[in-house]
Amino acid sequence: MNGFFDLPSDLQHSYLGLVGLHAREGLLPVLVALLVALPVAQLCVRFRWVYPPVLGVTTVLYSIPSLAFFVVLIDYFGQSETTVMIPLAVYSLVVLVPGIVDGVRSVPQETLAAAQAMGFGPVRRYLQVQLPIAAPAIIAGLRVAVVSSLSLVSVGMLIGNQGALGNMLNDATTYHRPALAVNSVLTTALLGILADALLVLVRRLLTPWMPRKGATR
């Protein structure tokens, strides 16, 4: 009874179940944001005048508080996971686009010319030259997006217990079990740090030519 990982039954999940739910609610939006951010960033690189307005719109979107964003969306999607995930996707998008644009722009002109001289079409050039060279910048953006997205999921508790690990916070106050709050905070933080470490690993695998030491943000 009352073990650290024994959760009250009203959470309707085991500890690991909540962890899985939290990971899905936090990571899926980042994935969607990445899929949207790649073409948007490519547009910004291709047509330079698109970038400043895109940057302006994303900065404004970023300044909407998460709680307000959630609550306004309730009107359209109800108290559901979708309501939590849409704002997270938007915030991730804001973090990702500038990173990808800077990354793709940093590809040297000579490299592009060399690729063209080798007969690469625009698609192959993008996939095999520009994306790999921009990978460190993209992953740097992903790290920030993933970590903040995972930590924001908890706020979803306020809109009808949609906060996965955050739902434990409500039970911690109602049942006077502070250990639940400690558990929630630590697990969420660990999840974020773990995801961050995984992304660093992915970057090392994707960019074997980079120096092993340093070059971290």
């Binding site: 998460s66 009107d75 903040s148 502070p178 905070v185 340093g214």
Partner: protein
């Protein structure tokens, strides 16, 4: 346009403009929480970032601290601190400061470290002591980036300070939380509009601050 109607209804109700739950009071509370949190975070982040950036060391340790700070959920930390410390401003300040320190710290470090080394060497060659090199050469050049770090922190604080209402404090979050429990979407949308407006005002303030404080020479070259 549902949202616009709600916002209009909220702002045209004169009951929302007076008393302890009026917009001026809540706005003032929100601004106070935000400024205090930003001040504390800057007091921690700026000196550490400036010194480590100046000597170019400790980048990995800072990145680790920043990741840990970002990974800690503000909302969870708020509830935990409220349980541990009890009612008051401190349980709100702790998560806000934890949230704001990483961007300030990392950007300041990066900003000072990436200053062009040749003017720094020239300053040393002219016999400037380290402190003057930092404050008269590196700081002015690094200022635009440092301000952008402070701006990110400030916006995150302004939008996150809404959660103070969850532990019975004031601020603009009051409208959002109360409205949520009362199923009064007018209030929620009104509160959200006010917070977003405050965040945009913060953007403008920082833009103006950078126009005033950044030396014209630095602005031209960037």
């Amino acid at each position: 346009m549902n949202v616009l109607n709600f916002a209009h209804a909220f702002f045209s109700d004169s009951a929302h403009w007076h008393g302890y739950d009026g917009i001026p009071t809540r706005l003032a509370e929100h601004v106070r929480y935000s400024l205090e949190a930003l001040l504390f975070a800057a007091l921690i982040g700026l000196p550490v970032g400036l010194v480590t950036g100046h000597y170019g060391r400790g980048g990995n340790a800072l990145a680790l601290i920043a990741t840990a700070g970002r990974a800690l959920p503000s909302f969870g930390l708020l509830v935990l601190m409220f349980i541990w410390i009890g009612f008051g401003l401190l349980p709100v300040m702790i998560p806000l400061v934890v949230l704001a320190v990483p961007p300030i710290l990392v950007t300041t470090y990066e900003a000072v470290r990436s200053v062009d080394p040749s003017p720094v060497d020239a300053a040393r060659g002219m016999g400037m002591p380290e402190a003057r090199v930092l404050f008269q050469v590196e700081l002015p050049v690094a200022l635009p980036l440092i301000l952008s770090g402070l701006r990110t922190a400030a916006i995150q604080i302004v939008s996150t300070a809404t959660i103070a209402a969850y532990v019975s404090l004031g601020g603009l979050g009051r409208y959002i939380i109360d409205g949520l429990y009362q199923r009064n979407y007018e209030k929620v949308v009104g509160g959200a509009t006010l917070v977003a407006g405050l965040a945009l005002t913060t953007l403008v303030v920082f833009w103006a601050a950078s126009r005033i404080t950044v030396s014209p020479g630095v602005r031209r070259s960037s």
